[in-house]
Symmetry: C2
Subunit: 326 residues, 2 copies
């Protein structure tokens, strides 16, 4: 019989959806649930939604809240040690005491950390990075996030903020980034950067299937599914934009390998999840060209994540265990 | 009375000179000596030179080899765990068993590590980085080297090669680097890059005092002393080239801070040693502009190294202690 108090609910708070997994002490998923979110809704309302989703998932696993050891949330943005979301531009949050409010609603211990930290930790513990001591994770989506595993553990830096690989400059004086600077990796190779470039090409008069695909799917944004569909239709604009982004991502991977000497680099996020090796192979080719140490081309494995959508929620569970076992 | 077997000789093998410090267990320098090297001489001859310099320094400290706990060498290039210099382009070395050959000549234990690792470790243990847990060191000279202190210890990565910050790309498709790639920090902001740019300006017909200064000082290369003299003469070409290099170095520092979240960044190497705060202040200004987290502008200290010429040799001593105490 499993120890009931090993059960943790991992929650991934994405920009567009919430996902909850009920996980036992042996990493078995007992139940899962998800719901869409509206990023324009108020913090209190979104937190009520998280609590309701947790309740639903726990019920689906035929458990009650009293069976839970903890609820662990991966949230976008900068999180402090007390579970306060200091800044989350994607949600429009500032200084929201997410941990405390969720705990008040659910009556169980709550752990909160950054969603990318959780995702990379998930891939390290249970996915494409398992078994290695030195790893970097790069998550490509609306933005580009990252996290570092050093000597087998998540590397937090001096203030808990390490890993902002999307805001390292690759192209001095390059395109403007959401952070205000120029030439960051995020401004060159995120889904947002790709959408900017596709729209510019269409505006310049080049034919592309992207607009029609977005319309047919009722999408306001060029999501991973739109990108994938356009590539499947051999859309030339989409292909060029994707190839350029992959080239920049390859240089970004090489920068990380030259600086940190990891044995594995895991590429996660929506596009990697949908396209897998088709997304990662060209990134790998460019990265190997830019390695300083030629032997790294054989030694360093660059892989797509294997946990897909579940990386963040599973990673949040791993993270909670590490924190609570201390 | 000091324990004799605490005494270690630290050696810094630079491209143009050798430096040896005889250091006791309390970090006191008992004697020092240095000699110029000829990078075109054979490995065996250079190693004989290192052995002779160590003997001379030990003699100057009124000691003998039997008083030594170890000799520890910081050498340029990639070094393996057995003290073999796998590759050192500046010396033209490949697979030279430096540790073994020195040990055979001196009859004492010999430790070998990378010279930049040693320099950064020296600054961390005894210089501008003392007391912090998370630090990055960037050494600007002929090339740009770096090393990372993570959780209080030198971070070696998965194969001992971490820290090659000079070979992270800052400018996609930028100028060609000595490593063969384009747009590396080293190709933008090393002394070699500055010399390339000054020569190009002179060739394009701009007046500059640099050639005359080099001639007067019998220098084939634009050394740190030449740079410093040209700046003191308010040479416009030198000033522009230096300002551009400092701008790139500022972005490089910001990349490291955004990725690794250190609490201190130490800038070392020949130029920093000679110019100190005049070199570092503009780097700091640009870095702060490029920080993702605004609070880092107050929190993260960017400082010139304080150990000067001795950083490498002192760091080699620290490194030997860490290795031998294991």
């Amino acid at each position: 019989m499993r120890k009931r108090k090993d059960i943790i609910v991992g929650v991934d708070m994405g920009g567009t959806s919430l996902r909850a997994l009920v996980v036992d002490g042996k990493d078995k998923v007992l139940a899962e649930d998800k719901m869409p979110t509206n990023p324009s809704q108020k913090a209190t309302r979104l937190i009520a939604g998280v609590a309701a989703l947790v309740e639903k998932a726990v019920h689906a696993a035929k458990l009650t809240r009293s069976d839970l050891r903890a609820v662990s949330v991966g949230a976008p943005g900068t999180i402090d040690w007390h579970g306060v979301v200091l800044r989350a531009p994607n949600l429009g949050w500032k200084d929201v005491p997410l941990g405390q409010q969720l705990k008040a609603r659910l009556g169980v211990p709550v752990v909160v950390d950054n969603d990318v930290n959780a995702g990379v930790l998930g891939e390290h513990a249970l996915g494409a990075g398992s078994g290695v001591q030195e790893m970097a994770g790069i998550f490509v989506g609306t933005g580009i996030g990252g996290a570092i595993i050093a000597r087998g553990r998540l590397y937090k830096g001096s203030s808990g903020a390490a890993g902002e690989i999307g805001h390292t400059v690759l192209m001095v004086d390059g395109p403007r980034c959401s952070c205000g600077h120029r030439g960051c990796a995020e401004a060159l190779a995120s889904r947002t950067a790709m959408e900017r470039d596709v729209r510019a090409a269409i505006k310049a008069g080049r034919p592309s299937a992207v607009s029609a695909i977005m319309k047919a799917r009722h999408k306001q944004r060029m999501t991973s599914s739109v990108i994938h569909a356009a590539l499947n239709q051999k859309d030339a604009v989409m292909r060029e934009v994707m190839e350029r982004a992959q080239h920049y991502l390859g240089i970004l991977v090489a920068n990380v390998v030259n600086l940190l000497d990891p044995e594995r680099v895991v590429i996660g996020g929506g596009i990697a999840e949908r396209m897998g090796e088709d997304f990662v192979a060209p990134i790998r080719t460019t990265a190997c060209e830019y390695f300083l140490r030629q032997a790294d081309a054989r030694r360093v494995k660059i892989l797509p994540g294997t946990l897909g959508d579940n990386a963040g929620a599973l990673g949040a569970v791993v993270l909670a265990r590490l924190r609570l076992d201390k």
